[in-house]
Symmetry: C2
Subunit: 205 residues, 2 copies
Amino acid sequence: MRETIKPVDLARATRLLNHGPVTLVTSAHEGRRNVMAAAWAMPLDFSPPKVVVVIDSRTLTRRLIEGSGVFGLQVPSVGFARETLAVGSNPGDSLDKFAAFGLETFPAQRIDVPLLAGCLAWMECKVIPDAAQRHDLFLAEVVAAWADSRVYADNRWHFGDDPDLRTCHYVAGGSFFKTGEAFEVEPAALVAGAHDAGEQQPPDA
Amino acid sequence: MRETIKPVDLARATRLLNHGPVTLVTSAHEGRRNVMAAAWAMPLDFSPPKVVVVIDSRTLTRRLIEGSGVFGLQVPSVGFARETLAVGSNPGDSLDKFAAFGLETFPAQRIDVPLLAGCLAWMECKVIPDAAQRHDLFLAEVVAAWADSRVYADNRWHFGDDPDLRTCHYVAGGSFFKTGEAFEVEPAALVAGAHDAGEQQPPDA
């Protein structure tokens, strides 16, 4: 594992995904392995951290995850967008995409699935069995999480000047947005006096 | 409804949400109405378009949606971030947040829920009953969709120079990212020749 990859506090691990970046899902079972892209992935709960990912029932990824009960969920960098598009555009049934695209991997710590270099954050996920899978939704608990300390530290993203070391958001057909400028706001004033801002997901109401 | 708000082709409506922006959920039932912020919302299917949103069981929004079976899902602009944080940080039980924060609304077309000015896209959603609601997941079909033609046309976002007329991504505690620079890539080359890029969600594998 490269030296800039550091463990992430599980109680804050949803922050890796909270801003809606595109993700890559790695899977392995009985000697087969695969990687797909998933724009449709998001946090589901804070502690223990959970995520939900849409995984089409026709995919090799789905069969491998159903077999193993685990997957890797990683956040690619802008510099990895070509690879992200390529693994999202080619079926895994007939191709070892890791070999075909020359993708470098490293082992996960808690699950038996390869993780991808070229990403900025990694979550090791265990599937939570749920009837919702009939909608192609996979729920999972994050059992370990990692991030590249060049852009994530103290439980937050802090992108710098390197345009490739930044997360990205998928649109369609090869189009992405870079994660843009960070900004902070105070909540709009409430007539009767505003409360403090919530810590994580705008906690509602 | 302001004149720049145009209908969106339902077959492409997931593109409003594909890049993972923060959203606002509006709801109404039996004379009560509410609005909450939700960073945890994403597409679920293309046609008919479906979405999935995490809505905490303790919220007024949850009770209103369970009562009415419908909700509005809208994408706020950077210029609306203070209001987004405010409605995400104050409970609806004791407060009409529309009045408290001076939020302008307009009627939806297919559902009886107010939609919010200050946003850039709007989806009118009907809940799909599902056992997954035990995980606070609400699945819904998008039955009508709208976008501000100043930044969305021909089924794509095209943000311009106005820094406020841009979608944003929620991090935590008043911190957001602006949706950044758009970029396009060709898929990484495959040894045996790469396929064309998929059209929407990186379609897998």
